[in-house]
Symmetry: C2
């Protein structure tokens, strides 16, 4: 996972892995049976990491605006802590595979659709609870939120500058501050047990 997040999934070779592990190529090979299987299992393992580091913390928050904040916080923390040394594994996979053909492009497509779909659901939840502007299309809000997260990931890794993460945090706070009638900071509310500090 670490090698692939830096060098790309194609740069993850059996020989390199063997050298890093102090094994022979054949020894590593025997565990996977093919390079494609190695790549496949690497993606599966990375998915588990991302679910543990990003998805689970988000779903631990109550549905609605809190969940969106929790998702953004968890993702940006996961990027900032360099859980993968090349930044978000799936952002790297997306960029590597977006214009190629084959099974990994299809997996990247499915991952992207699930990710965007999850954000979309959280946005509609927040809108239905009156915590987020209901007049705006949920897909557009989801696009904007995700765009900030993706940009933060790529530029943080490239520039090694924490200000990038701050920019994303601020931009997302602004997006989520376009509040509906029941926003936690707009009125004291019963539906949202946890009230966050208002920020800017």
């Amino acid at each position: 996972m670490r090698v692939a997040s830096i060098e790309g999934l194609e740069g993850l070779t059996i020989g390199r892995l063997a050298r890093d592990l102090g094994m022979t190529k054949s020894g590593v090979y025997a565990h996977f049976g093919s390079k494609e299987q190695l790549q496949h299992e690497t993606i599966d393992a990375a998915q588990q990491v991302m679910e543990r580091e990003v998805i689970a913390p988000a779903l631990a928050a109550p549905p609605g605006i809190d969940q969106l904040h929790a998702l953004a916080d968890a993702f940006l923390s996961y990027v900032e802590r360099l859980v993968f040394p090349g930044g978000c594994f799936f952002a790297s996979l997306l960029a590597e595979m977006d214009a190629r053909e084959g099974p990994f492009r299809a997996m990247a497509q499915q991952g992207a659709r699930e990710w965007l779909g999850m954000i979309h659901t959280m946005v509609t939840d927040a809108q239905q609870q009156g915590q987020l502007e209901p007049t705006q299309e949920a897909g557009l809000i989801a696009f904007q939120l995700d765009a900030c997260l993706e940009a933060a990931n790529y530029y943080y890794v490239l520039l090694d500058d924490p200000a990038v993460i701050d920019n994303a945090r601020q931009a997302i706070r602004m997006l989520l501050d376009r509040r509906g009638p029941n926003h936690p900071t707009a009125t004291a509310t019963i539906t949202s047990p946890r009230v966050r500090s208002p920020g800017r």
Copy 2:
């Protein structure tokens, strides 16, 4: 350029280029002297394409909000027309090189800083002309604009879905509609010779 935008700059091999061109490896090699030189010249050529397709059309518009709209339109058109079959060459380069070491990472860093700096300048121009909310930090607005453009590029290529471009267009229109006192659609204005249609 086309190969590198799809397979990555590292996937641009002399042998593959020779095959595509019907030449021998040595024949291609003689033109560049090293793989690194081939990669370097490929980046230079791609920079010229991007300046012709994106930068020049933006700078042709008058400084201020029009220039920001022109930049976003030119970039999204350049992505949508697949000027490079793998999407924006420098977005691909950034994602490939962001976590590696070496000269290409440094080039990607410089390219990113110049790109963000250009958008930043356009934002402050628009703010000084009263066309854009002056209370917001220009760097934050530039980050949001760029985030929409980058996300549009990656997801358009991955998902092959024109709705992605529409989302970016709408999101950018919203960002640029946070107008100052002199916004073209807010008041008839003398400073901006070209008045755009208001859109949504």
